[in-house]
Amino acid sequence: MDVSTPRRPDRCSRVDSAGVGLAVWEWGDAGDPPILFAHGGFDFAGTYDGFAPLIADAGWRVVCWDHRGHGDSDHADLYGWEADQRDAVAVMDWIGPDPIPVLGHSKGGGLLLNVADALPHRVSHLINIDGLPSRRSWPDLSERDRTSLRADAVSDWLDHRRTTAGASRKPGTIDELARRRQRMNPRLDLDWLRYLVPIGAYESEDGWRWKIDPSMRMGGVGPWQPEWSMMRLPGLGMPVLGILGLAVEVMGWGTLPEDVVPNLPERARFVPLEGVGHFVHIEQPELVAEMVLDFLP
């Protein structure tokens, strides 16, 4: 296992976000200063079991929620970026009114970047771990090829929506679920992925199933463009720490340092890491924890 001594959270609470119940997990002493974590898409708070204890043991109360539809949070009726932002703020409100540091990985990084831009009075420090999408990973296509690609994506997605009512995820053994996940997380150790299964999946008579809402799938349809996230970065006024894993892998954005550097705000630190993939904090928990703790007040 490539994450040293994973540890389950010390507490779990339920926070309501306009009718959607969110599972909120905490590591560390309840009286310590809070820091809010956000996980990536198709992950869950338990994927911080290796990294979060390193921050908590340094005197922080680490709070992380399972995004709607993920982990132990409710399966919502609808999903969207606006809703995810609202959920993040619901958890922040539950923590308290004071500005706090926030840390997000991948989708969670983009999400908290937007929240920091929209509500700067709520965020004292922003840490973004491989969550700065760039257009670089988008293929250069002719108009004809782009139309074909869009046609396949839209019709596949509509076909998918016709089958979601009553759908469930495929059952399997712990090992089978871990190996499926490894297709999306190819650089992560199989033992670590096996560790995650009993946390992110549930067991029934015919086997384990990932808890994530079966109506969700990677790569939906919509107008979103990756540069919309990066454009939020230059205007941030709080201290920013950006960490980028440079090894190419399937879940990453392929963002390069030269994509990020021109957009860094004045009070930013930026650390691109050679030989590290998208799940930077899982591959290098001690190194990332050291950087984060050095950055935090």
Binding site: L78, A151, A165, S168
Partner: protein
Amino acid sequence: MTSTTSDAAERRRHKAGPVVFDIEVDPVDPSLVAIGPQVTGQTGTRAPVRAAGEPTVWLQHNRIRLALHRLRDRSDDRVRPLLLLHGLGECTPADPPQAVAAWPGEVWGLDFTGHGHSSIPRGGGYTAEILMADVDAAIAHLGELTVFGRGLGAYVALLIQGGRPSLVRGAVLVDGPGIVGGGIGPSAPRVTTAARSAVTPDPFALAELTVDVRPPDYAVDYLRLAVRYSDLGEPVSLSGHVRPPWMAALDGLPGVRSLPAVDALADYATI
């Protein structure tokens, strides 16, 4: 900064195409999704009172129950149904609008998620694409049809014309609430909130679908889908007065024409 060259060079070479994952889902039989006519369990409360005997078909779109109303019987068996798509905050009207009076086929109206008699999702999360999938649930029930969209429904009509180009036989786009959307790109940063409501229209729908971003090139992509995969020469008809940027980008392109709704429908009825 400590970057060296090998990973960065690999990233420069790397041009990822679309990534398709095994989503590990056991699909259900799509034929089970469309539920037959029912008259009970209506969830919205602000839809117009329907006359006795007017059937409403309930469709299941994931966890949302959609109300599909038949407004008028057909006078010509050979003509496909016309589906009305209402504007933001509206619902299917009790009577078809004058513009569709001459349509010789059946006339239906769909209440979008969170509108009319359709159910209200918990905690918002609306996108125009979800409403496109609402329409696709109606297509699964009705089969080939023509769409007539007002405001937000006009934008959704464009999307479904591109998304199901062989099943949607013409999209007529007219003025109405929600036609502008949130502009061509991200606007001022914000976290959208609303108060929960037990009645339609869902305030989260009003809040989120007022600011959904509609880049012109995205709208043009859907037009291109319609033109390329439909056998109609001009599958999209612009029949309103307002031309928000997403619609202005369509104006004059192949496959689009501007003409009164009555004329557009008269033409589509003969195809």
